[in-house]
Amino acid sequence: MSFVPGQPVTAVVERVEIQKLRQGENLILGFSIGGGIDQDPGQNPFSEDKSDKGIYVTRISPKGPADLAGLKMGDKIMQVNGWDMTMVTHDQARKKLTKKREDVVRLLVTRKSLEEAVKHSKCSYPKH
């Protein structure tokens, strides 16, 4: 998940669809994000590579929409509704997630366990 300038970023991603919940005036998703290109990547506890400036999920409210959709703490968000999240500022990410006109957000998230699962599945099948 580290970023090498000039090279395309490849990752194994999971599609997560979250329905926004209406709470009074606001539509909430039930998780918190951290990270961004304007933030300090060294303080991110979830990233493997401490120079990774991507958007990470830092907290999930239990029984919230994100929790029900299967989002996990520590996930790195790659896309939100088609918008790229790997090279955005913190505020841009927030805006993309909290658009009032959208009820649903479709995220592409990646985590370490996904990579390992794919690798595992590749190895376990003998060549045929």
Binding site: F31, I33, G34, Q39, D40, N44, H90
Partner: protein
């Protein structure tokens, strides 16, 4: 020129302070009688340390090996041992012959020599000016205005020279060093040669030929005085300025308790470096307290007393020549010491346990006594109040001066103070008289109880104590190199006193290479690095 005798007139030991002093009349009387004694005997006694045989063990071992061959196997102890005590042998001999008279003679001799040289130097220009008038007054040309102007210049330069020479050479010496101060001797010789050469020239070219040009003669005298002033300038640089720039770092360690200090000295001869170190010693080192060393001595005595070595095998191989005999003796000594060390290691030694608990107990006791003392002194100080001018006029009764006030409040704190001093083994350093004096001093100067106590709670430098502690002692300089040679990197010498000695080692201060780095004040810029968390 100061080649003064080494030691001052006071010749008593500091060892007397080791005895326990009872606070009271006796200590005061003892002080008075002691000072009277020391003032009466002006004789200088030089304490020479007992000549320790360097290889004394071989003498004993030689006897064990073979009784008939002891003459061949014993090493003779000559006067030139490794630690040559520079003046000691000579002084020991002369001491028997002349006693104090010899050294006084030396001091006065050098002083008279210096005065004679000074007079010669001072009167020479005047003689140059006056002699033509006496010897051939008729042939002499009259002195014009320029020439008379030169008279004024000669007069003022001579006056400055007189003052300068007095300031540099004739002030009372503050110490007596064992050997001649080499630079002063060299300068005296230089001045003497200089003046003699001027006289020679004068005698041959002016007196013999009876020169009429008086202005030339006056200019000659002026040139002499100028040259003397330049020599004086050279003297200032050599004697005063050369040693100011720090060049060597010396490490001074006291042999009895290991107190160490470091000083920076310039380029000095060993004897002058020793003098500077002694002056620093009195200010910086805590006072030497022999009572504190008794504990470790008793411990080491216990270590030695535990083991005794016996020779079970009685026969030793015959030792025809010195070489094999000494080897056999040395081998036996080695095996004995090895046996002792092995036995000591095997024995269950619990002395470290005792030391630990003893020290903890002592610490506790000292702290308790200290707390009692502080409380007693603070309470005593509350009884005294300073009276203002107006109050003094209004209530004239029962007004005391500082000394009486000190005597009034002293009894309430005396017991606590005495107990504390006994516990910290300082009771011989302070007499009742000195404590009362100090108390009066503190009261006069509006000091707090803490300020009064500070000099008793921690052992201060030697200058803090009464004069008998630090009046000029007899110091012996022990050095392998000549004491007039300069300090070098790795010089080691000893300054021996009656109770202890100071071991001095010197190291050269390394060449310091310093480089510069310029920082533009505008280059100090900072960024804020955040990691914010937003909930969506």
């Amino acid at each position: 020129m100061d080649t003064e005798s080494t030691y001052s007139g006071y010749s008593y030991y500091s060892g007397r302070s080791r005895g326990s002093h009872r606070h009271g009349e006796r200590s005061r009387d003892r002080h008075k009688s002691r000072s009277k004694d020391s003032r009466s005997e002006k004789s200088v006694t030089i304490n020479t340390p007992p000549a320790e045989p360097l290889l004394g063990d071989t003498a004993v071992r030689g006897e064990q090996v073979q009784d008939d061959n002891w003459g061949e196997t014993t090493t003779a102890i000559t006067g030139t041992s490794e630690h040559s005590l520079s003046q000691e042998d000579i002084v020991r001999i002369t001491k028997d012959l002349e006693d104090s008279v010899g050294l006084d003679c030396r001091r006065y001799f050098t002083r008279t020599l210096a005065i004679i040289l000074g007079l010669l130097v001072f009167l020479t220009p005047l003689a140059f000016l006056v002699l033509p008038h006496i010897l051939w007054p008729d042939k002499l040309q009259s002195c014009g205005t320029a020439c008379e102007g030169l008279f004024i210049s000669v007069a003022f330069k001579l006056l400055i020279l007189l003052l300068a020479v007095w300031a540099l050479f004739f002030r009372p010496a503050r110490a007596g060093l064992p050997r001649v101060y080499v630079f002063r001797a060299l300068l005296a010789v230089l001045v003497l040669l200089f003046v003699i050469s001027y006289w020679l020239f004068y005698g041959v070219r002016i007196l013999d030929s009876q020169d009429e040009n008086y202005q030339g003669i006056v200019q000659y005298a002026v040139s002499l005085v100028d040259a003397l002033l330049f020599i004086h300038y050279l003297a200032i640089v050599l004697l005063e300025l050369r040693q100011l720039q720090p060049c060597y770092s010396v490490c001074v360690t006291r042999s009895t308790d290991g107190e160490t200090r470091h000083y920076n000295l310039g380029q000095l001869s060993i004897q002058r470096a020793a003098l500077a170190i002694i002056e620093h010693y009195y200010c910086d080192f805590p006072v030497h307290n022999p009572a504190l060393l008794s504990a470790s001595k008793s411990r080491s005595a216990k270590h030695l007393a535990g083991l005794k070595v016996y020779n079970v095998d009685g026969e030793f191989p015959a030792a025809p020549a010195e070489g094999p005999g000494n080897n056999a003796a040395a081998g036996i000594a080695h095996s004995q010491s090895r046996a002792m060390i092995a036995a000591a290691a095997r024995r269950r030694d619990t002395s470290h346990n005792e030391l630990y608990y003893e020290e903890a107990e002592h610490e506790r006791r000292v702290r308790k006594r200290r707390a009692r003392l502080v409380v007693a002194v603070e309470e005593a100080f509350t009884h005294i109040k300073r009276m203002q001018e107006e109050e003094q006029k209004k209530a004239p009764g029962d007004v005391m001066d500082p000394r009486e006030a000190a005597q009034a409040i002293f009894p309430s704190m005396a017991r606590a103070l005495q107990k504390y001093l006994r516990t910290t083994k300082q009771q011989h350093c302070h007499s009742m008289e000195s404590i009362q004096q100090h108390l009066a001093f503190c009261i006069t100067n509006n000091m707090t109880p803490k300020a009064f106590l500070e000099s008793y709670l921690t052992p201060g430098p030697t200058v803090q104590y009464s004069r008998d502690f630090w009046r000029a002692r007899q110091w012996t300089l022990i050095s392998e190199a000549s004491v007039t040679s300069g300090l070098k990197d790795g010089t080691i010498f000893l300054l021996k006193c009656v109770d202890f000695s100071l071991v001095v080692t010197s190291k050269k201060i390394p060449y310091i290479q310093m480089s510069e780095e310029y920082i533009d004040p505008k280059s100090h810029k900072f960024v804020l690095r955040l990691q914010s968390e937003t909930s969506v």
